[in-house]
Point group: C2
Chain length 354, copies 2
Amino acid sequence: HHGHILDERLAVCRAALAAQLPAPLTSAELTWAGRIAWRNHARCIGRHYWRSLNVRDHRHLDSADQIAASLREHLEFAQADGNVRSVLTVYAPPDHPGGPAPRIWNHQLCSYAGYRHHDGTILGDPKTIALTDHARALGWEPPSTPGRFDLLPWIVSGRDGRPHLFPLPAGLVREVRLRHPQFAWFEQLGLRWYAVPVISDMSLHAAGTDYPAAPFNGWYMGTEIGARNLADTDRYNLLPVIAEKLALDQRNPRSLWKDRALLELNAAVLHSYESDGVKLVDHHTASAEFIKFCEREKTAGREVSARWDWIVPPMSPATTTVFHTPMAEFPTTPDFHAQPSAWASAGATAAEKS
Amino acid sequence: HHGHILDERLAVCRAALAAQLPAPLTSAELTWAGRIAWRNHARCIGRHYWRSLNVRDHRHLDSADQIAASLREHLEFAQADGNVRSVLTVYAPPDHPGGPAPRIWNHQLCSYAGYRHHDGTILGDPKTIALTDHARALGWEPPSTPGRFDLLPWIVSGRDGRPHLFPLPAGLVREVRLRHPQFAWFEQLGLRWYAVPVISDMSLHAAGTDYPAAPFNGWYMGTEIGARNLADTDRYNLLPVIAEKLALDQRNPRSLWKDRALLELNAAVLHSYESDGVKLVDHHTASAEFIKFCEREKTAGREVSARWDWIVPPMSPATTTVFHTPMAEFPTTPDFHAQPSAWASAGATAAEKS
Ligand code: HEM
Ligand code: HEM
């Protein structure tokens, strides 16, 4: 029985070798490649759960339509009505290096539009301005009254490398309205965030092959939303708004108004996700779990590649154990990698063709 | 006139060259070496003020007594009744590499004793346990009722390398009792900290010479006290005590009890130093000043060596500009360096002699 599987595999590998291509992974191998890529990734504090990654082998899909349907399934399966599951879906690599392949233009499957007005002001998420423009160029129409939290459609290319627009079915993306355990006024700010971060623009590198479309997700760590997305001055920049409501003195940084507003914003994030039954981890717990991960890896005889500046949380960092833990980054494989934006690659392809 | 000074200097340099030693710096050169060492130091966020460093050339002092008297002057001049001045005092380098030279055994001129009890519990500052033991071995007697904030005596060696004990005159060290702008109970915790951090165990490297005794100080950044010294679990570990008073739920890290206690502790530090008229900078202002420093250095055509993990403050880091600024460390000279502890060196010297 095993001998038979081995024979088939050997035949596939020999054929690939003859064509000077890396041997394609089996689905079972791809599953473990995905898990190990997560385990290897130096910037991720959530790696304690690497064995539980659900990997979907969708390398057989061709068209943008098929891929968009597969992405909808990914998101629904990951959201799991709040009991968030870690998922990776892998689409086809290019037939030949540098050739066209499926690609997701969005940085994340869930994201909010960013509109730049003529007077230079920005409505929504400043991070998505370029993608929002691409969506409009492809025919997307923002709501008649654009808002701060308009979900962006997907832009997906199939094997042919040509981008298509996919508006999201109503109700697909789970969101959480933010309110504060003590302050009733907080809910009136009208803030919200989506339940699950599905990163969709990084490539998976495994066994000599780059998979440019390999969206993955875990659940959120609270500070990603409360100490970065909603707080950074070049994102939603909400600390002044919250400090105003808290009647803090914003003329003097020594009043710690930023620190206090940050604390209440993060308390609201943790409270709201918990109240809605959406899984999300606080930075103290995530830090403790990462330390456990490091210990287990040590027991298994493996070094952990880690970047201190990414692992240490952006809030009360010295109160977490990871702050006091020396770390070093080194190259690993399989791993996830940043890659040039899809529109840059598509532009290059278009330019080559013309 | 200038020609005369030049002739003298040339003679000194030729003599040093003949003896295969680095040419000793003039006092004026030492002043600039000290300032540039500060400007160069990759871990320091306070470098905006590097030109204002007061440098005292005390290379002529021989005995531990003389050096202790000079250290008392350093501290008084630096404390300046609260209007803290940046000061560096440089003592003699060894006559020959590895030979004995003045040395200050204390990590800082102001510090609190740490007592390890037989049951393993620690009273005071766990960081100073070794130094506290050395002080006792040299004859220091703790107060009849040891406390959490007992000022440690100095251990100083002169040119002969032999350590001597110097109890501090009452009233020499300026301290600040900590109270909170809103919570009356805070003062009842009986917390205090000293006004000025004079780091006394690093060596200054300049023009080929190591100066093992070169104590320096600026003023404090609030988080050094409130987010590290009083908060770290292996230091005063006060967050549980403050959270208790704030009636926070310590069973669950998700209540953000550590973050909230940290915020109130740091508010107390900033408030108390300000009320007592003791200069201390908050982390937001220090971050903004460091960015200004980087811009000025760029204008001057110099690269800034900086360690992100040391520069970024240990509280609300992502709300400061330094968090979003890429940094790189590279070797510089002149600079300050860590060196083996004085007792390790003294031990080695003793062993060599026997
Ligand atoms: C299970 C819960 C998870 C948690 C709490 C978690 C947490 C985090 C956090 C806080 C970051 C830093 C994000 C930032 O600062 O922008 C991060 C980065 C990252 N994580 Fe995880 N993660 C989880 C699951 C996963 C999974 C399932 C994968 C892949 C299979 C993954 C791969 C990565 C990668 C590649 C990055 C770097 C992203 C980038 O460079 O922008 N993580 N993670
Ligand atoms: C004027 C106000 C100053 C401020 C606000 C300041 C701030 C800081 C801070 C926050 C650190 C990190 C400390 C830690 O995390 O343990 C640091 C480290 C350092 N600073 Fe400054 N500093 C100042 C003046 C100076 C001066 C005058 C010198 C030397 C002439 C200096 C040299 C250093 C060095 C060598 C370190 C590294 C210390 C170590 O490795 O433990 N600083 N500074």
